[in-house]
């Protein structure tokens, strides 16, 4: 028996914070790749502290629904899961390359726990960003004549936060699909406030690399970019700012294809997922066309 456990932040204030986690868990549950699919949260229940005891399978793949490696993936989650012998050095990561490590957990010593790197740094995440651009423009071939901005939080406290953004922006740039690709940030330069300064293209797709829609993606970023003076009054997609059409995508984590990245993480750690990847790709694409 093998189980998938998706761990995420959750919120005491915003019920939408956990929605993408549940959605991706449901998608994966439906394809039947795992005997069990469970979710655990830092701020909701079951807590990460207790999620492993809700699992009946003896092989457990834990995938953090977080964007970057750092405080949560290296300290909080391993501590709360009570991973015996956890040492971040075992990931041997440069901040982008954490794959998985196999350990046991103190409160369920009979289980084997495969603790995976976060979804945000997996190479498959690049495809989700591109898919997000397709979803928001309604054009499966979007690229020509378009600029793409990948937006991160950015923080001086954790250099890995920006690394994930740069990594995916570079990969999309190398695809040559969009005329221009730029990494932008909320809290450091180059700032998303000045998005139109960084593009010549008339059309710009803006994809925030966030797990869930919340305060930052629904309020800060739309207002900072000048899509709206007050997020409560809403904004158009696309909205015209300084002569550019801004196609604002909202949090990439809400994209159905994200379930694919979760599966990729578990498969990299040794999970037997059969043809689930293909099924999820078909399923998430079909859902959006409805």
């Amino acid at each position: 028996m093998q189980a998938l456990v998706i761990v995420a932040h959750g919120s005491h204030l915003n019920p939408d914070s956990s929605t993408p986690t549940y959605d991706h868990a449901d998608t994966i549950r439906e394809v039947g790749a795992f005997d069990e699919v469970r979710t655990g949260f830092w701020k909701e229940e079951p807590s990460i502290r207790e999620v492993l005891r809700t699992v009946e399978a003896d092989e457990v793949y834990v995938v953090p629904l977080f964007i970057s490696e750092g405080y949560f993936t290296e300290q909080v989650i391993p501590r709360e899961l009570r991973l015996d012998g956890w040492d971040v050095a075992d990931w041997d990561s440069d901040g982008l390359s954490a794959s998985h490590v196999t350990l046991t957990a103190e409160d369920v010593p009979e289980k084997t726990v495969h603790y995976c790197g976060p979804v945000g740094t997996h190479e498959a995440m690049t495809d989700v960003i591109v898919r997000r651009a397709e979803s928001v423009t309604g054009d499966p071939n979007v690229g020509d004549g378009f600029g793409l901005a990948v937006v991160g939080h950015g923080t001086e406290r954790n250099e890995n936060s920006a690394k994930a953004i740069e990594y995916h922006a570079d990969r999309i740039r190398q695809m040559g699909r969009f005329d221009e690709v730029q990494a932008l940030y909320m809290d450091e330069d180059p700032e998303v406030d000045d998005v139109t300064d960084y593009f010549d293209s008339e059309d710009i797709v803006v994809v925030p690399l966030f797990v869930a829609d919340g305060f930052h993606t629904q309020e800060d970023i739309p207002e900072d970019m000048g899509l709206t003076d007050d997020y409560r009054t809403g904004y158009d997609v696309p909205a015209v700012v300084d002569g550019h059409r801004i196609w604002y995508a909202g949090a990439v984590g809400t994209e159905g294809l994200m379930a694919d990245v979760v599966l990729e993480r578990a498969a990299d750690a040794g999970a037997d997922i059969g043809d689930a990847l293909e099924v999820v790709r078909e399923k998430t694409r079909a859902t959006e066309e409805v």
Binding site: N14, P15, K43, E44, E45, E50, E56, D107
Partner: protein, 361 residues
């Protein structure tokens, strides 16, 4: 012809032992032991007839636990047995009760189990809807539907705590099977079944306040600074504020530390709370900041009724009674018009009570 008798007789060759009944197979014949009688040298047909006549309930029960519930985790099985009082009543009494339906409560859930042809069927609804006709409730059959039902209270506000004592009713999971029952219960109250089971087995890993606070890092590490001196009065206040039965359906088992119990009661919940939850931690961080302040002396003039009214407002907010106070009931201190009058009379333009500034300028 009942499936469960077929199943019992099919399995009898390997031997069966269940709740006082036993079947053994030796030298080509069967032997059936019941709590009252023994039958020996039985052919397969005779065994079939005996089960039909003498041990139908035992066969039914064996079939349910062996074939229908089958090979599941110990906590799942123990919970299903607890729901129908497996350890509380002998087989015949249990079956008599199950024919009429056996109900129990789990937090704000009311769970009923009844016999059905070859199995059991369960019904889950809000305890307040115990006597409501099933037809008047919204029916659900997918355990994951409980996720949405538990996300908002009856006013449509987000419930950050799944075990909060404010689950909205109006729904029912009718005629569900054993597997769906446990999944539904665990969706309403995550980890409640495994923790309850661990407690029954004497292996619940309770983490007390000091342990939980001690492992916090980042923005929550500050809470440790709240533990000054030997007292735990502040932790009593936290438990009284957050962990009371009126707020949370779990029974608080965590204390100050291994040797020091809190002074406030942990409540009567059927399943335990094994450590301060994330909501308690988040609130305690705020209280740590607030409690770091020194007290000051303010001088106000209030009428006795105004002082009493301030106290009534605090009571009403703390007990969540605001919505119950009628708009025109000016006899209630926390009535909106009474409160607006108090503000109009006593607050200055900066919102200072009696015109007394909060900060000592």
């Amino acid at each position: 012809m009942s499936n469960h008798i077929d199943a019992v007789v099919d399995a009898a060759r390997d031997g069966i032992e269940h709740d006082g009944f036993a079947v053994t197979f030796e030298d080509g014949t069967y032997r059936l032991d019941t709590p009252e009688m023994t039958f020996e040298n039985l052919s397969e047909d005779e065994l079939y007839d005996l089960f039909t006549q003498w041990a139908d309930e035992a066969g039914h029960d064996w079939h349910f636990w062996s074939d229908v519930v089958g090979d599941v985790s110990q906590h799942r099985r123990a919970f299903l047995q607890w729901v129908e009082g497996f350890d509380e009543r002998p087989l015949n009494e249990r079956y008599e009760a199950l024919r009429n339906g056996v109900s129990t409560e789990w937090g704000q859930l009311r769970i009923t189990v009844e016999l059905d042809d070859d199995t059991r069927v369960y019904d889950v609804r809000h305890v307040d809807d115990a006597d409501v006709d099933t037809d008047e409730l919204d029916p659900y059959h997918d355990p994951l539907a409980a996720r949405q039902l538990s996300t908002y209270d009856e006013n449509g506000r987000y419930r950050p705590l799944k075990s909060g004592n404010n689950l909205a009713g109006g729904w029912v999971f009718p005629d569900i099977d054993a597997h769906t029952l446990v999944e539904t219960v665990e969706t309403f109250y995550p980890a409640s079944v495994p923790n309850w089971y661990r407690e029954r087995e004497g292996t619940l890993d309770v983490e007390h306040w000091e342990d939980t606070i001690g492992r916090q890092t980042g923005m929550y590490s500050v809470i440790e600074t709240w533990n000054r001196g030997d007292g735990h009065e502040h932790v009593d206040w936290v438990a009284e504020a957050c962990c009371d039965d009126s707020q949370c359906v779990k029974r608080r088992e965590w204390q100050c530390d291994d040797e020091t119990d809190l002074d406030v009661d942990g409540g009567d919940g059927v399943f335990p709370c094994r450590e301060p939850c994330s909501l308690v931690i988040a609130a305690s961080r705020k209280w740590t900041r607030l409690e770091g302040e020194e007290t000051q002396t303010y001088e106000f003039e209030l009428t006795p009724s105004e002082k009493a009214q301030v106290e009534e407002i605090i009571e009403a907010v703390a007990d969540g009674r605001i919505d119950d106070i009628r708009e025109a009931d000016v006899y209630e201190g926390a009535n909106r018009y009474r409160t607006r009058f108090l503000r109009a009379k006593l607050f200055d333009e900066d919102g200072n009570l009696c015109g007394v500034p909060t900060d000592d300028e």
